[in-house]
């Protein structure tokens, strides 16, 4: 096919549940390509010799390589190419902000002058991974001969899963310690079922178990055992800290401790991990908000507002103090949220939560904002418009303005260097911390970031660990 012919192939739309229906159920929104669609979409790739898309992928998947196989309908070989560098394609294909990563650089998107018309790399990636999982066609992974070295992995989010898998493949004896009763980190407690089915996460966890990785749930490092004890008493030769950014930020405004105000972490954990949406069978209750305001503009805010609809809210307002162009959320989620009926309130911000006099939320006082002059970074920062107060009639407020890093490990581990934001400081080459033999990666190092970046960090740390252990 000539480039011209390729350009004429229409981008394959993702089949989706109807917006009105899906806004009231927990099932996955994006249904996934058929084999035919995946083949057609892959065949749009121009096989650019300079592979510009690869520089947008944090783990540098050989994108034209796997797309060429997929275009032939050889999805198994396509997956082999993906797996050379990525461990969680079924997850990343679903949750990567592709329009800011691989697809941003895609020549096809540039030619058609629309990033949304770039080759849908993530969707084809997802298809290859789903197909192999659903048909049981995944190939067993070989591990190197045993090294006799013990590695402890703290946390079980994407950074930890990747680090654990790589360490096991390198022949180390790996144990994962996870505070929660389920593994997966944000993938199980934060990102909702309708965006990332939990069966996929469970499958990935099973896969690392099959590599011989041991898993200790309900085990919180710093409390059940100190990090240093893992090395000094329990015989671990190296430790990886992948504890994420689990410390919710609040706005610090009046009325924030009223009943009906939640951090997005609490709101989503109740619904996802604790399955509160299965009312009548799950013991953990959720708050029956009828009119919900969600504060923030990232993926977390999109997830919380769409979850609110599914938990029965009649009205959901998304309140963000910048404009839509600045929203850090994935484009597709913004689009889905709008389709489902979330009302966007841009250039507005919460000033005070109003009490009903009995300890619960009776409304949210907001201020209007406008974009000021660009600051040093070139970003136009929002400024409040004086006297623009108005009240949103809500009974529930979900605060999704970001997560800081959880201080539990740094405060219980002497000599672990952190920066002023509380993130663990690591050597950029090896991901080793200030304590020899202790490595870290993912959100605890980067601040709240993305799944694929966390995964990349886990991989880099695993290489660092193997190098350290072979010394």
């Amino acid at each position: 096919m000539t480039p011209k012919e390729k350009m004429a192939i229409p981008p394959q739309a993702m089949p989706e549940q109807d917006a009105a229906v899906r806004a009231r159920n927990m099932n996955e929104v994006a249904l996934g390509y058929t084999a035919e669609m995946a083949k057609t979409e892959a065949s749009r790739c121009l096989q650019c010799p300079t592979k510009p898309c690869m520089q947008g992928c944090p783990v540098a998947i050989n994108i034209p390589g796997f797309l060429a196989k997929a275009a032939e309908g050889d999805f198994a070989s396509a997956l082999d190419v993906i797996k050379e560098t990525s461990l969680l394609p079924a997850v990343c294909g679903r949750v990567c902000p592709q329009e800011k990563q691989c697809q941003k650089f895609c020549t096809m998107g540039k030619l058609l002058k629309d990033v949304d018309k770039a080759v849908a790399i993530g969707r084809v990636e997802r298809f290859c991974a789903d197909l192999a999982r659903e048909t049981g066609a995944e190939k067993p992974v070989a591990c190197a001969p045993k090294t006799g070295k013990k590695v402890a992995i703290i946390g079980s989010g994407p950074a930890s899963i990747t680090c654990a898998a790589d360490c096991a493949k390198a022949g180390h004896d790996v144990t994962v310690f996870e505070a929660f009763h389920r593994c997966g980190g944000v993938l199980v407690y934060g990102i909702p079922e309708f965006r990332l089915p939990k069966a996929i996460v469970r499958h990935e966890i099973e896969a690392i178990k099959q590599l011989g990785v041991k898993i200790e749930n309900n085990f919180v490092i710093g409390r059940t055992r100190k990090l240093r004890d893992l090395i000094d008493k329990d015989g671990f030769d190296a430790v990886f800290v992948g504890t994420g950014a689990g410390l919710p930020k609040f706005m610090g405004i009046e009325g924030e401790n009223l009943n009906g105000v939640f951090s997005a972490n609490e709101y989503l954990t109740r619904a996802n991990l604790m399955k509160a949406y299965l009312e009548g069978s799950a013991d953990t209750p959720f708050w029956h908000g009828k009119r919900v305001a969600v504060l923030g503009g990232g993926n977390v805010a999109m997830d919380a507002s769409r979850m609110a609809l599914r938990l029965g809210a009649e009205k959901v307002y998304l309140v963000y103090r910048r404009s839509e162009a600045e929203m850090p959320a994935r484009k597709e989620e913004v689009h889905h949220a709008k389709e489902e009926g979330v009302e966007f309130h841009m250039l507005e911000n919460a000033k005070r939560v109003i009490s009903d006099g009995k300890g619960a939320v009776a409304g949210l006082e907001c201020l209007k904002y406008e974009l000021g002059e660009p600051d040093a970074s070139g970003r136009r920062s929002p400024v409040a418009v004086e006297g623009s107060e108005f009240v949103l009639d809500v009974d529930t407020v979900v605060v999704a303005v970001g997560n800081a890093s959880n201080p539990l490990i740094p405060t219980t581990t002497e000599g672990l260097e952190i920066n002023k934001r509380g993130n663990i400081v690591v050597d950029p080459e090896t991901n080793m911390t200030s304590i020899p033999g202790v490595f870290a990666g993912g959100d605890i190092v980067l601040g709240a970031a993305t799944v694929i970046l966390a995964m990349g960090e886990g991989r880099k740390a695993a290489a660092g660990i193997s190098a350290y252990l072979s010394k």
Binding site: H181, F219, T224, G246, L247, E256, N257, N259, N265, T269
Partner: protein
């Protein structure tokens, strides 16, 4: 894992269980708690204080009152059964006078109802650190006292029993002897653990005397590691997370009305869950 070693019933709706949890038993200090789940698919995570522990045997003791769905399900388990999930020890240990730089002195421990259980390891540690320990225990009636003998063993003649109906000890509220002791001027510190309303009034009682009063808050929790913020309360005008900043706080600084209101946030649904357990025939 987490096997129930023994179980006994201390009063109508209060149970004591010894659980196998070797690492928790080794690490725990007075004032810390665990979070457990009876069912790790659909169950709830609930916090319970570690009332006692035996590091050698690798066991911890919890004492709990059946108030809702999860505590009721827990009370139905028998020795040999396992707890689906158990995490701990969580929270900051109690700062024990005599160990924390302050000179030993006279410490009054006030335990209301089931709050006597979490008080036990604290009173033990206070005594071991060289303090004079007075214990005030309160209950609605004599049958509801738990761990009376254990507390008597620590406080000796300085054990004061209070009941609402006078069926044992003095008739009245725990705040009465507390005020008298403060009035007499010989109290260096007070620790109060019990229903929030009792802790609130203990803090009010000691405030005029300027006696340091520590309380142990029992807010609703989910993760217990500082991730969700569901356990937050205002203390001295600042938001604190009970699971990581507490559970113990200066009782004079706690915003009690907010705390009481937050504890009732899910009341209708908790009631429904309890009825569900009822209907399922789990309630005997």
């Amino acid at each position: 894992m987490n096997r129930i070693i023994s179980k006994s019933r201390l009063s109508d709706n209060v149970y004591k269980m010894q659980l196998e949890a070797p690492l928790v038993a080794q690490e725990r200090k007075a004032g810390q708690f665990v979070i457990l789940m009876v069912d790790d698919e659909l169950g709830e995570r609930i916090p319970l204080t570690i009332a006692d522990a035996d590091a050698e045997k690798g066991t911890i003791t919890v004492i709990f009152q059946t108030v809702g769905a999860t505590t009721t399900k827990l009370s139905r388990l028998e020795p040999g059964d396992s707890i689906a999930a158990l995490l701990g020890p969580l929270g900051r240990p109690t700062s024990i006078r005599g160990e924390n730089g302050e000179k030993p002195g006279h410490v009054v421990c006030v335990g209301g109802g089931i709050g006597v259980a979490p008080m036990h390891p604290i009173a033990q540690a206070l005594k071991a650190a060289g303090n004079k320990v007075t214990i005030i225990m309160g209950a609605r009636n004599e049958g509801l006292f738990v761990m009376k003998d254990e507390m008597a063993a620590i406080a000796g003649e300085n054990l004061i029993l209070m009941t609402d109906d006078g069926s044992s000890g003095r008739k009245g509220l725990v705040t009465e002897p507390l005020k008298e002791l403060c009035e007499a001027g010989a109290v260096d510190e007070v620790i109060a653990i019990g229903p929030p309303i009792m802790m609130k009034f203990c803090a009010l009682a000691t405030k005029p005397y300027g006696v340091k009063t520590t309380v142990s808050l029992n807010t609703i929790m989910i993760d217990g590691t500082g991730m969700c913020g569901g356990c937050r309360v205002s203390v001295g005008g600042k938001t604190k997370f009970v699971c990581v900043d507490g559970p113990e706080f200066d009782g004079h600084e706690v915003d009690w009305d907010q705390m009481l209101s937050r504890m009732g946030a899910f009341k209708p649904q908790e009631q429904a869950a309890k009825e569900h357990v009822c209907k399922a025939g789990i309630f005997k």
